[in-house]
C-alpha cells in the first residue's frame, strides 16, 4: 500500500486535497465496513460455530458478511480453531493471497493463545498472532456465534477509523484502554 500512502501525502499537500481525502475515506470506509466478507479459516471446533454464525439461525448475511471460500474475494480472515505447526504455513499463504485491505479475527482461545493446548503440546502454534496481524480477538472455547457477530461489528468500528493518509487515522472509539504499568486497575473505559 506504499503507492496509496505516497498518493495520500501528495493530496495532503495540495490545497483542497484534504476534502477529497476525507470524502474518499468516508465512502471507502463505509463500504468496507458494511461489506466484510469472511474467509472461513475454520480448522477445529470453532469452525462449527463459524458455520453456525452464517447459517439460518444467526445469519451473518444480515450484516452484509458472507463467507467466501476463495481468499481472493474476501476481506477478513476468521481464524477459527487451533493452528498447528503443520497448518501455519498454509494459513500464512492464504492470508497472503487475500487482497488488501484485509483484516483478521482470531476466534476462540486456540487462535488467541493456544488456549487449552498451550501447555505440554509439541505441535500447536500458541496464537495466530505469532504470524498474522490480528485485529479482533474473541475469547471463548468456542465463542458463541453472537460473539463472532459482535467481533465483526467491532471490526467495522476499526475500519471506520481508517484513512488513506496515515496522519488521518483516528483512534478507535469505545474500546477499553489498556491497563498502564504500575496501575493495578484499568481506568474506566468509555463504555
Amino acid at each position: 500500500m506504499a503507492g496509496v500512502d505516497d498518493f495520500a501525502q501528495v493530496l495532503e499537500s495540495v490545497p483542497g486535497g484534504g476534502i477529497i481525502l476525507t470524502s474518499v475515506d468516508a465512502v471507502a470506509d463505509w463500504a468496507r465496513g458494511h461489506s466484510l466478507w469472511m474467509m472461513p479459516m475454520g480448522t477445529a471446533c470453532c469452525a462449527m460455530e463459524l458455520i453456525a454464525a452464517s447459517f439460518s439461525r444467526f445469519d451473518f448475511d444480515r450484516h452484509g458478511s458472507i463467507p467466501r471460500p476463495d481468499p481472493r474475494h474476501t476481506d477478513v480472515m476468521v481464524v477459527a480453531g487451533t493452528i498447528t505447526r503443520k497448518m501455519a504455513p498454509a494459513v500464512k499463504l492464504l492470508w497472503e493471497q487475500m487482497p488488501d485491505p484485509k483484516w483478521c479475527i482470531a476466534m476462540g482461545n486456540c487462535a488467541i493463545s493456544g488456549g487449552i493446548f498451550y501447555y505440554d503440546t509439541y505441535s500447536v502454534v500458541r496464537g495466530v498472532d505469532e504470524f498474522l496481524p490480528v485485529d479482533v480477538y474473541i475469547a471463548g472455547c468456542p465463542p458463541r456465534p453472537e460473539a463472532l457477530q459482535d467481533a465483526v461489528l467491532r471490526l467495522r468500528e476499526k475500519v471506520r477509523a481508517d484513512s488513506m493518509s496515515p496522519g488521518r487515522r483516528r483512534a478507535i472509539e469505545g474500546v477499553l484502554p489498556l491497563p498502564t504499568a504500575g496501575d493495578g486497575t484499568a481506568e474506566g473505559g468509555s463504555e
Binding site: 505447526r85 503443520k86 498451550y118 501447555y119 505440554d120 503440546t121 509439541y122 500458541r126
Partner: protein, 153 residues
C-alpha cells in the same frame, strides 16, 4: 462367546499360543514376543479375528510395547495382542498384509514412536510434517517449544 471359551478355542487350535493368553480387566490379552508377532497375528486371523481396531504403542522406558486390538465379529469377542520391543532396535513385522487397516495405524505409530514396521509398503510420517525431528510420544522426547504445565492438581 465368552473369554473362557475363547481361551479354550485358542488353545485347541494353537497350543503354543495358549500359555501366552491371559484375561485382564475383562479383556483377553495375548502377550507375544516381537519375533513371533506376525505368526501369532496370522493365527488369530485364521481363528476369525477379522477386524483390526487399533495399533498403538506404549513407551516403558527400556522397552516399547506394541498393542493391537482385534475383534472377531462372528464370535463377538475381542483380544488385545501385546508385544514388547527393545528400545534400541524398535522393529516389528508389519501386519498390513493381513489387515490393510494397519496401514495408517502403523504409520502413526512410526510417526509418534519411531517403531519401524518391516514390510510396510509406505512407512512415512503421517500426522507430523515430514521434516519433523524426533518421535513425540516417546517419554524422553524433548522439544524446546513445549511449555511445561505447572502442577495445578
Amino acid at each position: 462367546m465368552s473369554l473362557v471359551e475363547l481361551r479354550e478355542h485358542l488353545c485347541a487350535t494353537f497350543p503354543d499360543l495358549c500359555p501366552l493368553f491371559s484375561i485382564e480387566f475383562g479383556d483377553g490379552v495375548l502377550q507375544v514376543g516381537p519375533e513371533r508377532l506376525h505368526e501369532a497375528m496370522e493365527g488369530l486371523k485364521t481363528l476369525g479375528f477379522d477386524m483390526l481396531g487399533m495399533v498403538t504403542a506404549v513407551d516403558f522406558g527400556e522397552e516399547f510395547e506394541l498393542v493391537y486390538r482385534l475383534r472377531a465379529r462372528e464370535m463377538g469377542v475381542a483380544i488385545i495382542v501385546r508385544a514388547r520391543l527393545p528400545r534400541h532396535t524398535p522393529r516389528a513385522a508389519s501386519v498390513t498384509d493381513l489387515w490393510p487397516a494397519a496401514d495408517w495405524h502403523e504409520r502413526e505409530v512410526y510417526d509418534l514412536f519411531g517403531i519401524v514396521f518391516e514390510g510396510h509398503p509406505d512407512l512415512r510420517r503421517i500426522l507430523l510434517p515430514d521434516d519433523w525431528v524426533g518421535h513425540p510420544l516417546r517419554k524422553d522426547y524433548e522439544d524446546p517449544s513445549i511449555i511445561r504445565r505447572p502442577d495445578y492438581r
